[in-house]
């Protein structure tokens, strides 16, 4: 029932908030398209609450809802990190997106591309996937079949 959810991970948030970051302009392009989609209820934006707190720019991240990390998420992440080589921080992100059924992520972290999630792309890099029914929607944020939804 909810519009598809998109997680903005720490690499993306950092690139967005820091003008000296090499990915800043790409992040701004993607973020602007995502915010337009948010206004039109074509997507919901989420980020980890600890990531947002670390960057402390509430106005910039105003359209983004927080995903709070509970003890059970940390426990599951610790278990995941314990039996694989995944770092605990990435494990927490994986647990959160799995528990909240998010399948689209705006990220510059190559590690996430190993999993069955859709990495949000720059509009120019994915112009061939513009949804025909919404030609004005930037390709990076056009709704795609199978995009995850947040359950709560």
């Amino acid at each position: 029932m909810n519009p598809p959810s998109v997680l903005l991970d720490f690499s993306f948030l950092t690139a967005l908030a820091n003008t000296t970051n090499p990915n800043h302009s790409g992040a701004v392009t993607i973020f602007s398209a995502l915010v337009d989609d948010f206004v039109e209820q074509r997507c919901l934006l989420f980020a980890r609450a600890d990531n947002l707190a670390a960057l402390a720019n509430p106005d910039l991240f105003a359209p983004i809802d927080k995903l709070h990390i509970a003890g059970q998420h940390r426990n599951a992440a610790a278990e995941l990190a314990g039996r694989t080589e995944i770092e605990i921080d990435l494990a927490i992100t994986l647990v959160l997106i799995q528990r909240h059924r998010i399948r689209r992520i705006a990220s510059f972290d190559d590690h996430l591309a190993r999993y069955d999630v859709d990495i949000v792309q720059r509009p120019s890099a994915a112009s061939n996937v513009v949804a025909p029914e919404s030609p004005s929607v930037p390709a990076a944020t056009a709704l795609e079949p199978g995009a995850g939804q947040l359950s709560n």
Partner: protein, 333 residues
């Protein structure tokens, strides 16, 4: 680092479900909710339908306990806040209904009797819809349409709470959207009960004799199907109930608010039309059973329309404001 993280081929991608530990509590919750549904069906059959406000609240509370087993503390806190609001909302409703006949605050506005009858007569070319329907269809024996009307009437007491419970348990964002619209309808309805106490048609016929006599027995079709209503002793707590709270018809409002809320997710046009038949059947039932004037139902529907329009407008403005804050911050970097 590349701006675009290229998608690797599916052969190399790992399914999240294969690596992230299973949420065992989710399985427990689903099992508990399934068990709850079975118990409620059994209760419905043996003890009767839970319909009065406090029993419905208790039933909903037990369901939510099942739905929140093992959820993080923050979500329990949010649940506590929501439950408080839910209880306050119904308490305000019951209290102001009592106030409408001067029992609580000593406020008493003039009772509307003739005015609503006259509006209905204008709309129906001099006829009283209640008496016309009863004179054509009401018989001493119970017909199929009595069962339809009675069952439709009874859905008022449990349909909206069931929808709220389901949304509460599965989709908090949509629950909040629903509750805001619902509470607005209830709040405006309460205000109208106070400033415009209105006698229902059965009272207008029985006490004021301004229309032909009509029979009031809303539950006979429901009873005829072998169902009964469960009433606990604590129903005494609802003695504030106000008999002159005909305007607006919250039966009509609640019957519209549920299908109207889900309408955007129903894609086929015919399905939209089918679900919108329900509020029409509800209003026809209310008029046939002598519970409401037609204008009560129309005002009830208008309240729902106004609530949806207002909240849609406000939520859109909120989203725009959040976006504007973000763009301004981005420009200031």
């Amino acid at each position: 680092m590349s701006v675009v993280a290229d998608k690797p081929t599916l052969d190399h991608r790992v399914a999240l479900g294969a690596v992230v530990p299973v949420d065992v509590w989710r399985i427990v919750r689903l099992a508990a909710m399934g068990f709850y549904v079975v118990i409620m069906l059994w209760w419905f059959r043996t003890q009767g339908m839970v319909w009065e406000r406090i029993s419905v609240a208790v039933a909903l509370g037990v369901f939510l306990l099942c739905a929140f087993i093992g959820k993080p503390l923050r979500e329990w806190g949010r649940l506590a806040f929501d439950v408080s609001f839910y209880c306050a909302m119904w308490y305000a409703y019951e209290t102001t209904r009592g106030a409408a006949d001067g029992k609580i605050f000593g406020i008493k506005f003039p009772l509307q009797v003739d005015s609503v009858r006259n509006i209905d007569r204008v709309m129906f070319f001099g006829n009283d819809p209640n008496t016309v329907l009863q004179s054509h269809f009401w018989e001493s024996s119970i017909r199929w349409y009595d069962k339809v009307a009675s069952t439709t009437y009874m859905t008022h007491f449990f349909l909206a709470p069931i929808v709220m419970g389901a949304l509460w348990a599965t989709n908090h964002r949509q629950f909040r959207r629903f509750l805001k619209r619902f509470a607005t309808v209830l709040g405006v309805g309460c205000l109208m009960f106070i400033v415009m106490p209105t006698a229902p048609p059965w009272m207008a016929a029985k006490n004021y004799h301004i229309i032909d006599p009509i029979v009031r027995n809303s539950s006979r079709g429901f009873s005829a199907m072998g169902f009964k209503a469960f009433t606990h002793g604590w129903q005494n707590s609802l003695d504030w109930g106000n008999a002159v709270a005909a305007m607006p018809s919250l039966h009509a409002s609640f019957a519209l608010i549920v299908p109207a809320f889900f309408l955007p997710w129903l894609k086929p046009l015919w399905l939209k039309a089918v679900v919108l038949v329900f509020p029409v059947v509800m209003l026809a039932s209310l008029v046939y059973l002598g519970e409401h004037w037609v204008i009560d139902g129309l005002i009830g529907w208008a309240l729902v329309g106004g609530s949806f329009w207002s909240w849609n407008f406000f939520e859109r403005r909120q989203r725009r404001n959040r976006a504007q804050r973000s763009y301004a911050a981005l420009a200031a970097l």
